[in-house]
């Protein structure tokens, strides 16, 4: 009798270690969820306009994180590597645009070269040029990083490449911080175009410089709109690329089975380079937009957005492109709501709390498939 009950207990434990205490964890999660819902509901009821303002600022962060998270998830999808240097590529994107604008006035070229252009068109073309330059430099950088640091380790244990990625990240951050590179200081960022703020109050109006918005109005800027359009646009471009184009299908095939992809005649090394370049282009664009929105840059500026985008990719299900997007929007909201209603210094801590919760509750993330380790 006693024998039987012992063996039953141990078989339960074997099925799920610690299952006896699972209710404590579940109860804790439930309380946490209830607490969050309570704070959100009461905050919304107290001042719906303020709540909308907070959500808007969360969207702005989320759209930037989405641009970074796409690179994490694509690279993971194809080489099963968390590319921790990705946040630093984002930083390089911001710095390239800084030099292009502040040192070389690249954003002004249309006014000088293309006569008879309307001033508005000149600003758009000039700013887009700066963004494209940043994207191109980031693409080249990522391709070099992959070739030099990751490719030689492709058949090594995964931990070797992961540690190398952390090394590359430190390399970019601290060589970037040298005085003759980017310098260790926080540098005021010069934008390629002016920020225009709008307020919503019986229609949409432009806020004039020095004007205080009427109380109870919702504020947003042209930068918010640009970030939203860029982020959603890149998501659409990427979906189209991966689903419909030959190279996108080759990316998916290579991510499933590299040897068989090569038997199809696919140059898998080329596809991997392309994937790194694509992710870096999005991160570079994100870096420029982030610097325009939050105009102070530093060689460590990519660390936290990079880590948050990584959490976003894990939350969405690493390897999943829509997952990265959804995860990033959630991360943006979590951060903005924390800043707005709990405390500003908690904004970063909340990201890592989410990471821990995801790993505990659903390690494969929202859209992720259960990982099948290769035999």
């Amino acid at each position: 009798m006693a024998q039987a009950s012992i063996s039953q207990k141990s078989s339960l434990a074997a099925r799920r270690p610690g299952a006896r205490f699972a209710w404590i964890g579940q109860g804790f999660l439930l309380l946490l969820a209830l607490g969050v819902v309570y704070i959100l509901v009461t905050s919304f009821l107290k001042d719906p306009m303020l709540f909308a303002q907070v959500v808007l600022s969360g969207l702005q962060l989320g759209f930037v994180y989405a641009l970074i998270a796409l690179g994490y998830t694509m690279v993971y999808g194809i080489v099963r590597l968390i590319n921790f240097a990705h946040g630093d590529v984002f930083m390089v994107g911001a710095f390239v645009s800084y030099y292009a604008v502040a040192r070389f006035q690249l954003h002004l070229w249309p006014q000088l070269v293309l006569k008879g252009l309307s001033p508005g068109a000149a600003v758009v073309i000039g700013s887009v040029t700066v963004m494209l330059l940043s994207m191109l430099v980031c693409m080249a950088l990522a391709v070099v990083i992959e070739r030099v640091a990751y490719k030689p380790l492709r058949d090594a244990p995964r931990i070797a490449a992961l540690i190398t990625a952390i090394g590359v990240s430190f390399f970019l951050e601290y060589y970037g911080a040298l005085n003759f590179v980017f310098s260790p200081r926080f540098i005021p960022y010069q934008r390629p175009f002016e920020v225009v703020t709008f307020y919503v109050n019986n229609g949409i109006h432009q806020l004039q410089p020095g004007q205080a918005p009427p109380s109870g109005s919702l504020l947003f800027s042209n930068i918010f709109l640009i970030i939203m359009v860029a982020s959603i646009g890149m998501q659409v471009v990427l979906q189209y690329l991966v689903r419909r184009t030959k190279i996108g299908k080759a990316m998916r095939a290579s991510s499933v089975d590299k040897a068989t992809a090569r038997l199809m005649g696919i140059n898998v090394d080329g596809i991997i380079s392309f994937t790194f370049a694509l992710g870096a282009a999005f991160a570079g664009l994100g870096g420029v937009l982030y610097a325009i929105a939050y105009p102070s840059i530093n060689t460590l500026m990519g660390v936290l957005p990079g880590l948050k985008a990584f959490v976003a990719a894990v939350l969405g299900g690493i390897g999943s492109i829509p997952g990265a997007f959804v995860g990033a929007l959630i991360m943006g909201q979590a951060e903005a709501l924390t800043m707005g209603y709990i405390s500003t210094p908690m904004r970063d801590a909340v990201a890592f709390t989410i990471l821990i919760l995801v790993l505990l509750v659903r390690p494969r993330g929202i859209f992720g498939e259960p990982e099948q380790e290769k035999a």
Binding site: K249, R262, G265
Partner: protein, 235 residues
């Protein structure tokens, strides 16, 4: 000589998997490589198709040395390897799998023609065109694997155990398909454990044992060879 394999030595670390293998394939032939599990059949095909590098030895296709050529360029030369275990891209649709087979082809109209031909030879694939590759049955996956290989319009087809794990009726079907492909002018190097079926459709065959070729001859000769009969035909 269409395909000439000379004195291949291939290692996995310290394991000497192929110990000096030589054989050839003439234009229009079906040549089979038979042997027990672990004899080195798949290693031979992987070396020919460029997935593995031999330590010594050469692989020549129409006289051109392929020994250090990347796998993707070998496909462009007209030699396609259909790997053991089908290796269908599970999250890609049937149609996308076929498109990947045509990766090296540039001419859109020609690709569409080949796709139509694949669907004609394998009507079951047409019905499942938009289904994910991973949802097909074993037999359907094998047809897709062969159809995908043919999308590159190969002159030489390397087939690794196409009958593996299939019901007898499907095995018959697969071998009939191989004969039909060969009749259209594609030379076939067929690796099989099903020695009886393979030798009965092959012009010539080689018997592989632990990384060396023990016997060779026409299909008929090998079928009648007492050693082959006792070791591979269960007589």
């Amino acid at each position: 000589m269409l395909l000439e394999v000379k004195d291949l030595n291939v290692y996995y670390g310290a394991i000497h998997a192929l110990q000096g293998i030589s054989f050839d394939l003439e234009e229009g032939e079906i040549v089979t490589l038979i042997g027990a599990n672990g004899a080195g059949k798949s290693t031979t095909l992987k070396t020919i198709s460029g997935l593995l590098r031999p330590r010594t030895g050469t692989v020549r296709l129409r006289g051109e040395d392929l020994t250090s050529m990347p796998a993707q360029n070998i496909v462009k030369r007209g030699m396609v390897h259909v790997p053991e275990g089908r290796k269908i891209f599970a999250p890609l649709t049937v149609q996308e799998n076929l498109e990947m087979g045509a990766y090296t082809r540039k001419d859109k109209a020609e690709i569409e023609g080949n796709m139509a031909r694949a669907f004609k030879s394998f009507p079951r694939l047409k019905e499942r065109m938009n289904q994910l590759g991973g949802t097909l049955s074993g037999g359907e996956q094998q047809m897709l694997a062969i159809g995908r290989g043919l999308m590159a319009q190969p002159k030489v087809l390397l087939l690794d155990e196409p009958s593996m794990g299939l019901a007898p009726i499907l095995v018959e079907e697969i071998f009939a398909i191989i004969k039909a492909i060969n009749a259209e002018g594609v030379s076939v190097l067929l690796v099989e454990q099903n020695a009886l079926m393979a030798l009965s459709i092959a012009h010539r065959g080689y018997v592989l044992e632990t990384g060396t070729i023990m016997l060779s001859g026409t299909g008929q000769e090998l079928l009648e060879n007492p050693r082959v009969q006792s070791a591979y035909l269960g007589h």
